[in-house]
């Protein structure tokens, strides 16, 4: 009789628990190695870039480190001035020592050929500073004490408290100032946060517009897609397949082709306006402006995103058994009640999936508004692109993108709370 208190063992005497664990560990390891390529891919192409973007939105070493492009060698810059900022609290009037530190640093900058990039960093937050740095650096070596007077002789703006505040802010590579800028805020001379001039405020307005337009486009897609999907789901397969091709054909066509087709159709000398004029509905002088404005953005984006709503809706409508509605009707429900109480609730997972897809795509949409949006049809993504490719202020672009990402996550969380993410069916 075996001792029942002794642990169970396998045939070769290993405890059963440990043997099981090691067997499972092997299976787990195998599974892990199977997903490893995907994991590495996601980390490399998705997580790492987002992390880098978030880092860039709070980190800009333009005023602290100079990186030589050829050799990649990093040199700390503005050392003396940064030391002065550390010793003196914010709001201190810059004294002779501060100017002396500045001049010394400018001489170093000149040797490194870096005044341009340092000036650009300051220029992000205070316009017109760039040439002050390049000019002063050119002459820095010849300047004589008293340095304060010498610098002010070069340009009176060197005494501007705002400039000193910006330099103090930039003297640490880590800063939240780009987030302030992305929310139309700035720091004034004594470091407190204030709104920027009214004629510079643009980002908050564009975030709001992006949100509202995306909601509107999602709603329009829903209105258009619901009947189409219903038709597709209820028709006999041989007809619905043909119709499905009409839905998918634009989906397979290049985005640019579809967008430019809308330009051809909607422009004031375009097909739609010409037809309206030819049929006498419109005068030649009162052609409707349907493109290069918000209307253009809404029409083109709704069309382009429509398949993303139709397909999930179709996939939940197809398996709905028509006898449910028939049963409701036979029990005396009106067609509206049968739809509202029986049919519609069964399609909610598809609506949720479609709406989420369309909304998230719409929020980040870029090419279509750029081409057909004119002035007031631009979205926040167009300004992010502007800072990425034109103004080259990547930190600001990263801050804007991070806010957009944060906003989407909040909305996703809200959606999860209100509708439930489990209640989502993509196909």
């Amino acid at each position: 009789m075996a001792d029942i208190s002794a642990p169970l063992t396998t045939a070769d005497g290993k405890p059963l628990k440990a043997a099981l664990a090691s067997a499972q560990a092997r299976a787990r390891r195998r599974a892990f190695f199977l997903v490893l390529p995907l994991l590495a891919f996601v980390l490399l192409t998705f997580v790492a870039p987002i992390a880098q973007m978030l880092h860039r939105s709070v980190h800009n070493p333009g005023f602290t480190t100079h990186t030589d492009i050829g050799s990649g060698e990093k040199t700390p810059i503005m050392v003396n001035l940064r030391a002065w900022f550390k010793e003196n609290p914010p709001g201190t009037e810059p004294d002779e020592a501060a100017y002396e530190a500045l001049v010394k640093d400018l001489v170093v900058l000149r040797e490194l050929k870096a005044p341009g990039s340092v000036g650009t960093r300051i220029n992000y937050e205070r316009a017109g500073s760039r040439s002050m740095f390049t000019k002063a650096a050119r002459r820095a070596e010849k300047l004589e004490p008293p340095y304060k007077e010498a610098m002010l002789d070069l340009d009176e703006d060197w005494a501007d408290p705002e400039l000193w505040q910006v330099m103090r802010g930039a003297s640490s590579a880590y800063t939240f100032n780009f987030y302030l800028a992305a929310l139309d805020l700035a720091r004034d001379a004594d470091g407190s946060i204030v709104s920027v001039d009214e004629n510079r405020q643009v980002y908050v307005k564009l975030f709001t517009r992006t949100l509202l337009l995306s909601l509107l486009i999602t709603f329009l897609c829903f209105l258009l897609a619901y009947p189409i999907a219903h038709l597709l789901a209820t028709l006999p397969l041989r007809h619905s397949n043909l119709l499905m091709i009409f839905v998918l054909l634009p989906f397979w066509t290049s985005l640019l082709v579809r967008t430019t087709s809308w330009i051809v159709l909607l422009q004031s000398q375009g097909v739609v306006n010409d037809t309206l004029v030819a049929t006498g509905i419109l005068d030649d002088d009162s052609r409707i402006q349907m493109i290069y404005n918000q209307t253009g953005t809404i029409i083109a984006m709704t069309h382009i995103l429509l398949p993303f709503m139709v397909l999930p809706l179709y996939s939940v409508m197809r398996p709905i058994n028509p006898s449910y509605v028939r049963a409701a009707r036979s029990l005396g429900a009106t067609s509206w009640t049968a739809f509202r109480r029986i049919y519609f609730p069964q399609t909610v997972p598809g609506i949720g999936a479609g709406a989420l897809l369309v909304f998230i795509l719409a929020v980040g949409y870029y090419i279509t508004p750029a081409l057909v949006g004119g002035a007031n049809g631009q979205l926040i993504s167009n300004l992010i692109a502007f800072h990425m490719t034109k103004s080259l202020n990547w930190s600001l672009a990263a801050a804007l993108a991070a806010i957009l990402l944060g906003g989407i996550l909040v909305l996703y969380w809200l959606y999860d709370r209100l509708v439930g993410i489990d209640n989502l069916k993509l196909g």
């Binding site: 030589d68 492009i69 050829g70 050929k113 870096a114 005044p115 341009g116 990039s117 000036g119 650009t120 220029n123 992000y124 316009a127 017109g128 760039r130 040439s131 390049t134 004629n199 510079r200 405020q201 643009v202 307005k205 564009l206 517009r209 422009q267 004031s268 000398q269 290069y292 750029a370 004119g374 002035a375 007031n376 631009q378 300004l383 502007f386 990425m388 490719t389 034109k390 103004s391 080259l392 202020n393």
Partner: protein, 356 residues
């Protein structure tokens, strides 16, 4: 099958051998790139056996920073505007170009004296003088617009207006349209009142503006009748009007002159070839040849006398040049220093104004 395999392998081998001798040039596309291919690229390949890859961008200055910072430079030579050349050079993103590699004029004048003032920079060599003008479609405009003020007068000349979607050139034109003479524009733009005044002038036609970004768009917008008048790069209008017979007229009043310059991004993969290309493309004859394909002025004084007929063989180029005396009566020279400094600020305000 085997034969094809051998053949393709041989071809690939050839392609590899040839790839050692190539240079990638990035320019602005459309009629302008075509003029460069005809005047610079083809003769360069014929003379040195170095093939030239031509790539296009809306503005070649913008990919340079991304490429250099990422350490993945694919462009050897880029054709950029003046303020961008200076800014990129200051930021250490460009190779310096030794001016002594540039050949002298045929009469022996050294290159440093032959190029017009400002055309030679530490990191850049200009090839053309171009200008932003406005043009109109004679089919959609009644009467003859003469001045910059007419561009902003939608009562006298009804119809949409095309404008480049950037603060640069737009603000200057708004001030000139408001009656400010070219010589006072930048002094005024330095002040807040001047900027306010420019935006106030733009406000008067804001609802009638169609914004463009690529240089090929304005001729298209004009031809479609989508706009009655549009600002444009003068060469694009010339090529559409003379080359393609479009009914476009250029108004030279208030034109804004600028250079296009060749630069070499830091870390360009074929720097030697790039230098060779720049020296070749900016010699006297090549600059003159370029002017026979599009109406941009050569950056060398000695090229002026060699500029003759357009490639159609009958149109005299001289009067179509932005630098022709009769076109210069009220012309503005782009102030690169102003834009290097204020580009960020004014574009920020411009974006805010657009969004409102």
């Amino acid at each position: 099958m085997k034969k094809t395999l051998v053949l393709t392998t041989a071809l690939t081998g050839l392609a590899f051998a040839a790839s050692a001798q190539e240079v990638t040039v990035m320019s602005w596309g459309g009629a302008y790139t075509k003029s460069q291919v005809e005047a610079y690229h083809k003769p360069f390949t014929a003379e040195f056996g170095i093939s030239v890859n031509s790539v296009d961008a809306d503005n070649p200055a913008t990919p340079i920073k991304a490429q250099v910072e990422a350490g993945n430079v694919t462009v050897d030579v880029a054709d950029v505007e003046f303020s961008d050349a200076v800014r990129l050079c200051d930021e250490g993103l460009l190779e310096e170009i030794d001016h002594s590699i540039l050949p002298p004029a045929p009469d022996g004048t050294p290159a440093t004296e032959d190029f017009i003032e400002g055309a030679l920079q530490d990191c850049a060599v200009a090839n053309i003088v171009w200008s932003t003008v406005y043009a109109y479609n004679t089919n959609s405009v009644e009467g003859t617009p003469m001045t910059m003020a007419d561009f902003f007068d939608t009562e006298k000349f009804p119809g949409k207006r095309g404008l480049r979607k950037s603060a640069k050139a737009t603000l200057e034109m708004a001030l000139m349209g408001d009656g400010v003479p070219a010589s006072e524009v930048y002094d005024l733009l330095e002040t807040d009142e001047g900027v306010d005044r420019a935006f106030a002038k733009l406000d008067t036609i804001k609802d009638d503006i169609v914004w463009w970004e690529a240089g090929a768009q304005p001729p298209q917008l004009l031809a479609d009748g989508e706009v009655a008048m549009s600002t444009a790069y003068n060469g694009r209008i010339f090529n559409a009007a003379v080359g393609e017979g479009q009914p476009f007229e250029i108004v030279w009043d208030g034109q804004i002159l600028d250079f296009d310059l060749f630069v070499i991004p830091k870390g360009a993969p074929h720097k030697e070839e790039a230098l060779k290309f720049i020296a070749f493309a900016t010699d006297t004859q090549r600059l003159a040849d370029q002017a026979s394909w599009i109406s941009y002025g050569p950056a060398r004084k000695s090229s002026g006398a060699l500029v003759g007929l357009y490639s159609d063989g009958k149109t005299e180029m001289a009067p179509h040049m932005p630098t022709a005396a009769e076109n210069l009566t009220n012309a503005l020279v782009n102030n690169f220093e102003f834009w290097v400094d204020r580009d960020a600020e004014l574009n920020e305000r411009f974006n805010a104004w657009l969004a409102n």
